[in-house]
C-alpha cells in the first residue's frame, strides 16, 4: 500500500512564480505531492495549469521560487548546477513531445549520448546503447539517422536514450503529442512495461486515453492539485 512505500520524489509546498512584465504569474501555488517508487502517474490539466512547470522542477531542469523538492531524500535546493546535472544524468530519464534527437547522429549515437556525460564511466557504452535499442524494439535500425525513422520509431529512440543511464525516474512530457493513435498505443505499452519493471514513470498529458494507462491520475488547475486519484488494482 501507498503508506508503506518510501516516496522517491517528495514535493513540499512547491511554488513557482514567473515575472511577466510588471505582473507576477503563479505557475504553482504551494503544491504538496509524493511519488512512490514504481508507480506510473499521469499529470493532467488544461494548459497553463502548472503541470509542465511541476515536471521541469521534478526533472531538476528548473528551480522553485519557494518550497523544497526531495529526490531519494536529497533536497535539490542544496545542490549546485553541476550536481543537478549529475542527478539528471544518473537518476532521471527524459522523453519529450518533440523527441529532441540529434539529427546528424545515428540512433545508436543518440542513445549513447547520456553515457558520454556519466561521471563514473560506463564500461561499454556501445553495448549498453544496443541493449536499450533492442529493449524498445529497434535492434534492426541502430545505424539509421532520425530523419530515416518514423515518428513512433524516433520516440522509441528517445525512450532508449532515457533508459541508457538506468534511471529510477522517467519523465515524459506529452510523449504521444506528435504521434497517431496506433503509434501512441505502442509507446504507452512500452512505458507501462517499464513501469512494471520498477521505473517510476511520470507523464504529462491532456489526453484521457493516454492518462488511462497510469495507475494514478493527478489533475491540476490554476497551479494547484484539483484531484489525486489512484486506480484500484
Amino acid at each position: 500500500m501507498a503508506a508503506e512505500a518510501t516516496p522517491l520524489i517528495s514535493c513540499r509546498d512547491l511554488t513557482k512564480v514567473y515575472r511577466m512584465g510588471t505582473q507576477d504569474v503563479f505557475a504553482l501555488r504551494g503544491v504538496n505531492v509524493d511519488f512512490i517508487e514504481g508507480e506510473m502517474t499521469a499529470i493532467m490539466g488544461p494548459s497553463g495549469s502548472g503541470k509542465s512547470t511541476l515536471m521541469n522542477l521534478i526533472g531538476a531542469l528548473d528551480v522553485p521560487t519557494s518550497g523544497e523538492l526531495l529526490i531519494k531524500g536529497r533536497p535539490l535546493s542544496k545542490l549546485s548546477r553541476d550536481e543537478l546535472a549529475d542527478l539528471r544524468n544518473e537518476t532521471i530519464g527524459f522523453v519529450f513531445q518533440q523527441f529532441n534527437l540529434l539529427n546528424r547522429a545515428t540512433a545508436l549515437a543518440n542513445v549513447k549520448l547520456p553515457l558520454m556525460y556519466a561521471r563514473t564511466p560506463v564500461p561499454d557504452p556501445v553495448a549498453r546503447a544496443r541493449e536499450c535499442l533492442e529493449m524498445v524494439g529497434l535492434g534492426e535500425r541502430m545505424d539509421h539517422r532520425p530523419m530515416q525513422l518514423s515518428g513512433g520509431q524516433q520516440q522509441r529512440v528517445a525512450i532508449a536514450r532515457a533508459l541508457a543511464g538506468r534511471p529510477s525516474i522517467l519523465l515524459a512530457d506529452e510523449p504521444t503529442g506528435a504521434l497517431d493513435t496506433k503509434t501512441s498505443e505502442e509507446i504507452m505499452d512500452l512505458l507501462t512495461g517499464l513501469s512494471s519493471e520498477g521505473i517510476t514513470v511520470v507523464l504529462v498529458t491532456h489526453e484521457p486515453e493516454v492518462a488511462a494507462y497510469a495507475s494514478r491520475q493527478i489533475h491540476f488547475r490554476d497551479g494547484q492539485i484539483e484531484r489525486d486519484e489512484r486506480r484500484a488494482s
Partner: protein, 410 residues
C-alpha cells in the same frame, strides 16, 4: 566528457555543414598562409645576409684613412695622412689581433698576348689570405719572402683566368699588369657573386703589396712604405665592439692625435655595414608578417561570429545535452573543441598553402626563402591560440544557458 570524444563530436558537427566550415576556415587559412610566406621570405633574407657577412669575414675590422664621412673608401684624400707599413706592424702587436692585411687597390688593365681585360688589383701581404680565407684551386699563393722582395708574381680570380686563358692552365704564364710583367702562380677557388660591395668577387688580380706600390700603381708611392687601408682580423670570440674601440685608441696613439682632436682615420666594421643595409629588407619582411598576423586575427573574429551563430542555432541541442546530464564544462568543452578544430584544420591547410606560396615567390621573384619547421609550428600554434581565444566567448555563452529555456527555444 573525454577530450577525444569532444573532438570527434566537434568534427561531426563541422562535417555536417561543410560549406560553412570551409568559409569560416578560409580566414584562418589565408592568415596562416600569409604569415608563413612572409616569415619564410624574411628568414630567407636574413640567412642570405648572414652568408654574405661570413663571406666578407665576420671577424674583420677595416681601418681607412680620413675623417668619418659615411661609407668606406679605399684611398685617402690629399689632406689625409696615409698609413704605412709601420702602422701595420704596430697594430699587429695588439693581443686580440690575429692578422693585419695591408692593402692597396686600384683598377688595372691586364694583357696576355692578344687578350686584354680590365679588372681590379689588390696589392697586399699574406695576412690577406687569412682575413679573406683565400685558397687556390691551381698553383699556390705568394709567401712572405715574395712580399718583402716585391716579386713579380700574381694570383688571379676565376673570371680573369677565363677571360685571358680560356680553357688552358694560366699557372706559369706571364701577364702584363698595367704593362708590368708578372708571373701567374695561382688561380683562386671561386667565391662567386656578391650583392654586397665588390660585385663579382672572382674578377680580381692579387699581387704582393710592394709590387703594387713600387711598380704597378705609382701615385701615392711618393710616401715610403705606403699602405692604403688595413684589414684587421680579430681573434675568435673577442667582442667586435671592444676590438673596434681598442683599435681606435691605439690608432690615436700611433698617429699622435691629442685628446679632443679629430680622428684622421676610421675603424669600420664591414659586417655591420652589410647588416644595417640589409636590415631594411628584414624589417620589411617582419612588417609584412605582422600585417599577415592581423589578417589571422580577422579570421579569428570570423570564427567567433560563426560560433555565436552556431550556438544560437543549436540552443535546443544544448538544452537537451544539459537535460541528459551535461555539465556546463562539457558544453564549454564541446564548443571550444569545435572552434579549435576549425582553426587547427585551417592552420594546417594554410601552412601547406604558405609553403607553396613561398616556393612560388622564390621561383618567380628569385629571392631566397627559408622554410623552417619552426615557422610552421608557430603559425599552427598561433591559429590554435586564436581558436581558443575567439572560441571561448561563444562557448561560455552556450555553457551558461538555462536548460529549460534552451529546451524551449525554437
Amino acid at each position: 566528457m573525454k577530450i577525444g570524444v569532444a573532438f570527434q563530436s566537434a568534427l561531426e558537427a563541422l562535417i555536417s555543414n561543410p560549406l560553412r566550415s570551409f568559409l569560416t576556415m578560409l580566414g584562418i587559412m589565408i592568415g596562416v598562409a600569409s604569415v608563413m610566406a612572409m616569415m619564410a621570405i624574411s628568414e630567407g633574407a636574413a640567412k642570405q645576409v648572414d652568408a654574405q657577412i661570413a663571406q666578407l669575414g665576420a671577424s674583420n675590422l677595416t681601418i681607412f684613412p680620413g675623417a668619418s664621412r659615411g661609407g668606406p673608401r679605399s684611398g685617402g684624400g690629399a689632406s689625409d695622412q696615409p698609413f704605412t707599413e709601420s702602422d701595420v706592424d704596430k697594430i699587429k702587436q695588439e693581443p686580440f689581433v690575429t692578422a693585419v692585411a695591408a692593402r692597396i687597390s686600384g683598377s688595372v688593365m691586364v694583357v696576355s698576348g692578344e687578350d686584354n681585360w680590365s679588372t681590379s688589383l689588390q696589392g697586399t701581404n699574406t695576412d690577406y689570405f687569412l682575413t679573406q680565407s683565400l685558397s687556390t684551386r691551381e698553383g699556390r699563393l705568394f709567401d712572405t719572402r715574395e712580399v718583402s722582395s716585391g716579386a713579380a708574381v700574381a694570383v688571379i680570380g676565376k673570371t680573369v683566368a677565363d677571360a685571358l686563358f680560356e680553357g688552358t692552365n694560366p699557372v706559369g704564364q706571364t701577364i702584363r699588369v698595367n704593362n708590368v710583367p708578372a708571373e701567374i702562380i695561382g688561380v683562386l677557388v671561386t667565391r662567386g657573386q656578391s650583392s654586397g660591395p665588390g660585385g663579382d668577387r672572382d674578377d680580381i688580380v692579387i699581387v704582393p703589396i710592394s709590387t703594387a706600390r713600387n711598380r704597378i700603381l705609382g701615385g701615392n708611392a711618393t710616401v715610403a712604405r705606403y699602405v692604403g687601408s688595413m684589414e684587421v682580423g680579430i681573434a675568435d670570440g673577442y667582442d667586435m665592439t671592444t676590438a673596434q674601440e681598442q683599435l681606435e685608441t691605439r690608432m690615436r696613439e700611433i698617429r699622435r692625435i691629442s685628446p679632443g682632436g679629430t680622428d684622421d682615420f676610421r675603424v669600420f666594421n664591414i659586417a655591420d655595414f652589410v647588416r644595417a643595409r640589409s636590415s631594411t629588407q628584414a624589417t620589411f619582411g617582419v612588417l609584412l608578417a605582422f600585417t599577415a598576423a592581423v589578417s589571422l586575427i580577422v579570421g579569428g573574429v570570423g570564427v567567433m561570429n560563426i560560433m555565436l551563430v552556431s550556438v544560437t542555432e543549436r540552443t535546443r541541442e544544448i538544452g537537451l545535452r544539459m537535460a541528459i546530464g551535461a555539465r556546463g564544462i562539457d558544453i564549454l568543452g564541446q564548443f571550444l573543441a569545435e572552434a579549435l578544430a576549425l582553426c587547427l584544420l585551417g592552420g594546417l591547410i594554410g601552412s601547406a598553402l604558405g609553403v607553396g606560396a613561398a616556393k612560388l615567390a622564390a621561383k618567380v621573384g628569385e629571392f631566397p626563402v627559408e622554410i623552417s619547421p619552426r615557422i610552421a609550428i608557430i603559425a599552427i600554434g598561433a591559429s590554435a591560440l586564436i581558436g581558443l581565444f575567439f572560441g571561448f566567448f561563444p562557448a561560455r555563452q552556450a555553457a551558461r544557458l538555462n536548460p529549460i529555456e534552451a529546451l524551449r527555444h525554437e
